[in-house]
């Protein structure tokens, strides 16, 4: 249970980091907080020749509020978000999500950028950021680009990042009305990997709504029929259950346990929105 040998570099500029990551393809691993990479190295599931530590890149630590967005640097830790260090917490949604990730000692080092870049289907941030309509800011050898998070995550441990590219951070749009939200996560033991996570967000009352189910498929998925029912102020549990069944049937296939599990998490998230 010890990592195999590798080289280590801690570049101080994005250009340098990008060049190092791009030069060696899949044999290079990017290291942010290390809370997923270190277990993989220790278990020898990851066998890189070179580990590039992104921890010294100041651009990845920026936290700022613009007129339209909250800019969250990729190296922002879960603990920092839990402790309310962002200029806007989206009605407490991001704080709640952060505080339910793993354990405090892991949250002290695990980062939002590292979590999204790994794209573990059971992770919390990609689904949450999708519900909030976030854009991923990416830098590489060819310059910078920005992409909606729903398009950035391609599948299990798969994103649109090229070998030389690095997540700089996220632009999360400021809600134009008071954000009403709900989230619910099923884990067998607190801090363990999730079996189902639901996020429901409504911009004010009757405003645009987004519902996301995560930890169910290879990447977070939108539940448009449920979102439409929230926007319409639907109260009937039967109608909501019908909308959920319609949205999640491709994920649950014919598995009645999965159908009950995901229905339950989505319903609880929707109920929480209604209560606000």
């Amino acid at each position: 249970m010890k990592a195999a040998a590798f080289d280590y570099a801690a570049p101080k500029t994005l250009a340098e980091a990008s060049a190092l990551l791009g030069s060696n393809g899949a044999a290079t691993a990017a290291l942010a907080g290390g809370q997923s990479l270190l277990p993989m190295l220790n278990l020898r599931l990851a066998l890189p020749d070179l580990v590039v530590d992104l921890g010294r890149l100041e651009e990845l630590k920026e936290i700022a509020a613009t007129r339209t967005n909250i800019r969250v640097g990729a190296l922002t830790t879960h603990a920092a978000i839990e402790d309310g260090k962002l200029p806007e917490t989206f009605g407490g949604l991001m704080q709640k999500v952060a505080s339910n990730i793993s354990y405090r000692a892991v949250r002290n080092h695990g980062t939002i950028g590292g979590s999204v870049a790994l794209a573990d289907p059971a992770s919390d941030w990609s689904g949450c950021l999708m519900a909030l309509g976030a854009q991923v800011r990416i830098a590489g050898r060819k310059g910078t680009r920005s992409q909606p998070i729903g398009e950035f995550v391609l599948g299990q441990y798969s994103t649109s990042l090229a070998a030389d590219e690095i997540i700089v951070g996220f632009d999360v749009p400021r809600p134009d009305a008071a954000l009403r939200w709900g989230s619910f996560k099923v884990v067998r033991k607190s801090g363990a990997f999730a079996n189902s996570i639901a996020f429901a967000v409504s911009h004010g009352r009757g405003g645009p709504a987004v519902v996301v189910l995560a930890a169910a498929a290879d990447r977070p998925c939108l539940l448009p029929a449920v979102a439409e029912r929230i926007q319409a102020g639907e109260k009937s549990e039967d109608v909501l259950r019908g909308a959920i069944a319609q949205d999640v049937k491709d994920v649950t296939k014919d598995d009645s346990y999965l159908m009950r599990l995901h229905t339950s998490t989505v319903l609880r998230a929707v109920r929480e929105v209604e209560a606000k």
Binding site: M1, A5, L41, N42, L43, A105
Partner: protein, 159 residues
């Protein structure tokens, strides 16, 4: 091998380390600080918990080389720490250890909890300790000790 300089329990130290070496292995093997125990080596058990720049950290999930310029605190460096003195006493009184393997991690995490929360109740302590495993299953005494320590420290003005 790479050169690593950090503050270890208040003293500046410099060592040669392999990049693959975790902070836990560095502490135990190179610095001979063996209070930090290694259980699972993949972040599940919490036995190796130390403080890095004052933040509770699983030392098996951090490369030693990542700690360049940082301050690392282990149980050995907390002999004279006022919070640890209270915790030690309550761990003793509440019989909060059996085999003792998880105890250093429990103490480091307990100190972290009490640094963030005043007078936490048993449920809060249980939630906060969910990342620390005691395979003797002696949780009851551990929770009792931390709650009692929190109560005692909560009464005194915080330093």
């Amino acid at each position: 091998m790479k050169s690593l300089t950090l503050q270890l329990n208040g003293s500046k130290v410099t060592h040669e380390v392999e990049p693959r070496q975790t902070l836990a292995d560095f502490l135990r093997e190179q610095c001979r600080l063996t209070a930090t125990h290694l259980g699972c080596e993949h972040g599940a058990c919490g036995a190796c918990t130390v403080a890095v720049d004052g933040q509770a950290t699983r030392s098996c999930l951090r490369l030693a080389i990542m700690c360049e310029g940082q301050s690392v605190q282990t149980l050995e460096g907390l002999d004279d720490d006022p919070t640890m003195e209270v915790l030690r006493r309550h761990f003793h009184q509440s019989h909060a250890l059996q085999c003792g393997f998880c105890t250093p991690g429990m103490l480091m995490m307990a100190r972290d909890i009490l640094s963030r929360m005043t007078n936490p109740n048993a449920q809060t302590v249980r939630d906060q300790l969910s990342g620390q495993i005691c395979r003797c299953t002696g949780y009851s005494g551990i929770v009792t000790a931390i709650v009692a320590a929190g109560r005692e420290l909560g009464r005194a003005p915080q330093a």
